[in-house]
Amino acid sequence: MNFLTLWFHKMGSPPTFYRVAGHLLPWLYVVTLALGAWGMYDGLFQAPADYQQGDSYRIMFVHVPCAWMSLFAYGFMALNGFIALVWRIKLSEVLAMASAPVGAAFTFITLVTGSLWGKPMWGTWWTWDARLTSELVLLFLYLGVLGLYNAIEDKRQAARAAAFLALIGVVNVPIVHFSVQWWNTLHQGSTVRLFGPSHIDASMLTPLLLMAAATHLYFFASLLARSRVALIELESGKDWVRQLVQSSASNAGEIFEERGNV
């Protein structure tokens, strides 16, 4: 086996993943907080006001990174769902299901901050425009995946059923992304491009990219934290969980122990 396959096999094993994720998590949180604080400060206080939208455009620094993450998290969930369905890898099931709640959170923030931006700029909280509607559908897809997963008792079966639903819903991702080009929408087009020049000044792009980096890191932090809990639950019959629970009893759970014995 070559190095890469070996690495995948190792990381795919729940106790190894649990341990490595536990080491990574504090660092992820620290870097997320640092980049987020820097990005927020830069965006809210340092970047100049927009010549058309005044200071209201500063909502962009939370709205746009969250919107990117709502699609990224869905893509990540669908990819892991695909791997889970094809190769039946337990960790992929866990990762797919762990990305659903944080993806739903980002989608919710996108919709509400978009509404808060729409009121002063468009004069309405909501309109059934292609971008807004497809993003709302995205939220319902997340909620559907979460609902299906929680409705089925056997968690491995539940994850596969929900992964299947996630895969069907993936058609909505390009619809959200291209909606501003395919239809004549009230929502503005993209100003930041991966390929080609962005239509945004560097003083505004810097905080936006900082926030994008922070939200990406936050996504992985939340993903790892949820996956670790899900792994304990899924593997509760295994030795490594038994050891983990016993060692946690000796340091953290003393108060509970006392109460339990009375």
Binding site: I232, S248, A249
Partner: protein
């Protein structure tokens, strides 16, 4: 200072957006911590009961 907070008259929209962003992500960060604690407490009890059953003849 109050000029900065006013955000050119859009203060409410901007600050509520930021507060919502932080609040929702904070809830998202706390959720797995609470779940982990509940789960560990439950498993601890479960393992102890199993242990007890094994020890009584």
């Amino acid at each position: 200072m109050s000029d900065v907070l006013a955000m050119g008259g859009y203060g409410n929209y901007v600050w509520i957006s930021c507060a919502l962003f932080l609040f929702v992500l904070l809830l998202d960060a706390i959720a797995p911590l609470l779940r982990r604690r509940q789960l560990l407490t439950r498993l601890r009890g479960q393992f102890r009961r199993q242990q007890g059953r094994r020890n009584t003849p």
